[in-house]
């Protein structure tokens, strides 16, 4: 077969049950063996057996989770390759850290639909299923692409771009030394390599620390809080942020009219957008705000539509209710501390009872029910992009670790008077792994950099 080894979370993300990390490929058993502590040596256990033990980070002996590990040697497995499945405790935290650890020890994150693709290519799936396999790859890839595109505008990208620029300027300098040895460009010194690589390394390390704290999950599920003016959107946002300790508190709104807050709700990253109140208006300035709010609603993965318990349903709200009924929308009836004038039966025509939550943002009551409803939607798969967002973050973290490794190699080599064209291999590798986070191919941009940075020619 000769393929590389891939890993991914194989189960839908769910609280309370079991989650599974699946690893497939020639090095699957060896990879998991590196991080699995048990009475048995995983490399020696018979096929189709289950082992009890712990997932342990070999670098610091931290125990990540108590797990069951199933070994299925090829060809008697789903992909016909060696497959290892790690069953962790449910919830996001455990399975996420186990996957990240496996990715750091030799596996790469599976592409969308890749297990199924391998199963097909290795003859485990019937010929008649070819189109279904293609559909799966296409739809998963397209969704991953959409998430990636959203992330390209995110905070992580904004930090990666200048790091890459610093590396590519260094690379261009190295390349000019190599390809134009007689040109009047100073040689890159090992000191210059160290300074640049160390500075980028420091930033990578900071990102990795943040990722452990969950701060990297800024690109969470985009959640729009919508409603008429004064329905209590801002107080809801504040209440949620207060209860769930906002991950980032200092993000300026993308526009003056949209305030953002990112929170972690039962481990699920939510990017909350408080939109301007939606109502028919002739005020030009307010119209712009309303248009932006509609835009935010279109882009959102999840919508919290806030209704005012203290007022009867307004025509603007009736419109929104119709418009949003086929989306991932939860109805939040706010201000239940005040006397009710809202006729809820009208809402219930289009929305099942599970989709309606009652609370008072002001008093903080009912917030728990909202959280339950949100995670219920998320784990039932109603909010689609969630697991992809999450998984692509695992990928980012794996890539950041690779970048770190390459930079450390480059710095070490620069102390050992290794020739510059060899150090270049590691610098280029770090530049490329950062590039994979952004999702753009390396391509010709190095040459562009060389010829814009230096005056060359005969």
């Amino acid at each position: 077969m000769g393929e590389d080894t891939i890993a991914a979370i194989a189960t839908a993300l769910g609280e309370g049950s079991i989650a599974v990390v699946r690893v497939s490929g020639p090095d699957a058993i060896n990879t998991v063996a590196k991080v699995f502590k048990s009475k048995q040596n995983l490399r020696e256990v018979p096929t189709h057996t289950v082992q009890y033990g712990w997932i342990v980070d070999p670098h610091n002996d931290n125990v990540l989770d108590e797990v069951l590990v199933t070994v299925m040697k090829g060809p008697r497995s789903f992909t016909a390759e060696d497959v290892v499945e790690i069953s962790t405790h449910g919830g996001i935290v455990a399975v996420k850290s186990v996957l990240e650890l496996v990715l750091r020890h030799g596996a790469r994150l599976a592409e969308p639909g890749e297990f199924t693709k391998r199963a097909f290519l290795n003859g485990r799936i019937d010929l008649a299923q070819a189109e279904a396999v293609i559909d799966l790859i296409r739809s998963k890839s397209d969704r991953a692409f959409q998430v990636a595109r959203k992330q390209a505008e995110g905070a992580l990208s904004k930090q990666i771009v200048p790091m890459r620029q610093q590396l590519i300027e260094l690379l261009a300098h190295v390349e000019v030394n190599i390809d134009y040895p007689e040109h009047d460009v100073d040689d890159v010194s090992s000191g210059l390599i160290r300074d640049n690589c160390s500075s980028v390394l420091k930033q990578v390390q900071e990102l990795l620390i943040k990722s452990n704290e969950g701060k990297i999950l800024r690109e969470g599920i985009v959640t729009a809080i919508a409603g008429r003016p004064n329905a209590g959107k801002s107080s809801l946002l504040n209440a949620l942020a207060r209860e769930n300790k906002a991950i980032v508190t200092d993000i300026p709104g993308t526009t003056r009219d949209i305030v953002e807050e990112t929170i972690s709700l039962s481990g699920i990253p939510l990017r909350l957008l408080d939109t301007a109140g939606i109502r028919e208006t002739s005020d030009r300035v307010e119209q712009i705000g309303v248009e932006r709010s509609h835009g935010a609603l279109n882009d959102a993965d999840l919508i919290l539509l806030v209704l005012n318990h203290h007022e009867p349903l307004h025509d603007d709200e009736r419109k929104l209710l119709k418009q949003l009924k086929d989306r991932s929308t939860l109805i939040v009836v706010n201000k239940i501390d005040l006397p009710g004038q809202l006729v809820i039966e009208e809402v219930e025509q289009d929305y099942a009872k599970e989709r309606i939550v009652y609370l008072s943002a002001k008093e903080g009551s009912g917030i728990e029910q909202l959280e339950k409803a949100v995670s219920g939607m998320f784990f039932s798969g109603a909010v689609e992009s969630g697991d992809i967002t999450y998984v692509s973050n695992a990928r980012h973290i794996a890539l950041l670790h690779q970048t770190k490794q390459s930079l450390e190699d480059a710095i070490r080599a620069s102390y050992e008077s290794v020739p510059i064209d060899l150090i270049q291999i590691d610098i280029a590798a770090s530049w490329e792994s950062l590039g994979h986070i952004l999702g753009d191919a390396a391509g010709d941009s190095l040459l562009d950099q060389i010829f814009s940075q230096f005056c060359l020619g005969k």
Binding site: A130, E131, I178, P181, S417, V418, D421, C455, K458
Partner: protein, 633 residues
Amino acid sequence: MTYRAGDYDVIVIGAGHAGCEAALAAARMGCETLLLTINLDMVAFMPCNPSVGGPAKGHVVREIDALGGEMGRNIDKTFIQMRMLNTAKGPAVHALRAQADKFMYQHKMKETIEQQERLTLRQGLVEDLMIEDGACVGVVTKTGAEYGAKTVVLTTGTYLRGKVILGELMYESGPNNQQPAVKLSEALKRCGFQLARFKTGTPPRVHEDSIDFSKTEIQPGDDKPKYFSYETGYMAHSEQQIPCWLTYTSEETHQIINDNLYRAPMFSGLIEGTGPRYCPSIEDKIVRFADKPKHQIFLEPEGRNTKEYYVQGLSTSMPEEVQIDILRSIPGLEKVEMMRPGYAIEYDAVIPTQLWPSLETKIVQNLFTAGQINGTSGYEEAAGQGIMAGINAARKVQGAEPVIIDRSKGYIGVMIDDLVTKGTNEPYRLLTSRAEYRLLLRHDNADLRLTPIGFEIGLITEARHQKFVEKRTRVEAEIERLKETKFRPDETVQAMLAQAESAPLSNTVDGLTLLRRPELTYGHLESLTPSPIELSDDIKEQVEIQVKYTGYIEKQQIQVDRMERMEKKRIPDNIDYDIIYGLAVEAKQKLGKIRPLSIGQASRISGVTPADLSILLVHLEHYNRVTAAAHGS
């Protein structure tokens, strides 16, 4: 009126650096070959710099030699200076560069061609291609000669609808005032080829006796020069090398150029062709890098029996009188006598994505193209494509599969894959950074990479192959010996280490471990335990490099292995991308245009995503199983 002038296996049109290699390769592989050129005095002419080699380019010359080509041998016979560049850097980027006696270079190459069996050299301007059923079957010259051929190789350089531009002056011309090939360009268009318009340029030449060398710095050759060809023994002319000289532009130079920019065809709009970024004219450099106070100028002799000097760094298409002013503003050239002005030249090129990796065109069967016509620049790039086009034209005649060099096997492979997979929007120059496996594509191991291929196809003689195999075996044996040799922390060893400023040993290690210390060389180990059999210098060098850089070499080898799995997944050439279920529209268009031979090549096409590749793989698997089932029943 036309007449039937002869029939050949292979016809090569153009006797520049690509054409010479193509014709020699085809004839040496047993094909009756005709080499046609507009002017017999221009065989292997160097219209620009009188030099061969440098980073990546020098590697290509070594590769041509390892395959059994001529460029390396020819430059070894005719160099006036030889330098190994990048010696302070790693072994992968050491690069040999020679200054050529450009006249000798031509004469020696012409002599080799004239003496080659089965090869006919003839003067003639080809104006049309004979096409039957979508295949090229011969060529027609201006004088009415019709030559039949089984395959044809076009190596037209800058002659194709060439146009020289110099200040406000513009006229149809090939390089150095040669006749251009105008009608052939029209013939290609009639066949359906898409042509691009490219531009290149050359600096003025000046008289040696009018240069004040005291104001310049000397640039001598190496005392003990290495040679390009693995076959070259000692060359007596190594003792009579001629130096080059270095000077710089002055403030006045920049002033003159700025004052006359309005007369520069680059900026007045006279030039429509795309020029190379890495070979800009001096006016281009001064505009784009206005902050740079001075630019290097190298003065390079053009031969042993000429007074002409090439002014490297001063490529220009300024009007003649401005060129004289520019030259005289440069220290050392105050009283210089300009012998020929520099000029820009525009020419037609075939957009190279219209070619298969064998360099046969997708549009006309049995027609191959190589060199500048494929959008490259440089003698070495041309020669590297020339030998491959010659090999594959001959193999087509012989009914054999084409030879395609992998990206991990040679710069020639990198270049051709880049051209046919990605195309190019400016004249393409090889740079070492274009290779993703630079450490594997070293100057020193071109023979290990390519000589087995050269032997297999019949370009490397039995005797040379024997020598090569012996070398390879001895390298392996010596590495094995070092692995088995233990060094104990005894007095002799510690003394040697102290001498080499290397840390003393604390326990016994093998020779490989010791040799991996950055400060130690093969010589250090040899001083303690010499090889029982006499080893040549290049064997010792090879052992040292392979041992010292094992870690990095293995890192790249892992990437190569991964890539090779993709290269091995072949795509049938009758595939119809339009009907593949699930493929993105952009991928269908790109794949349909390039028609890659493997999944590996497909992965390098921009706009083809990993998801598209997965879907293509699933489709191919489906196709294979259906085909297998059909054959089984």
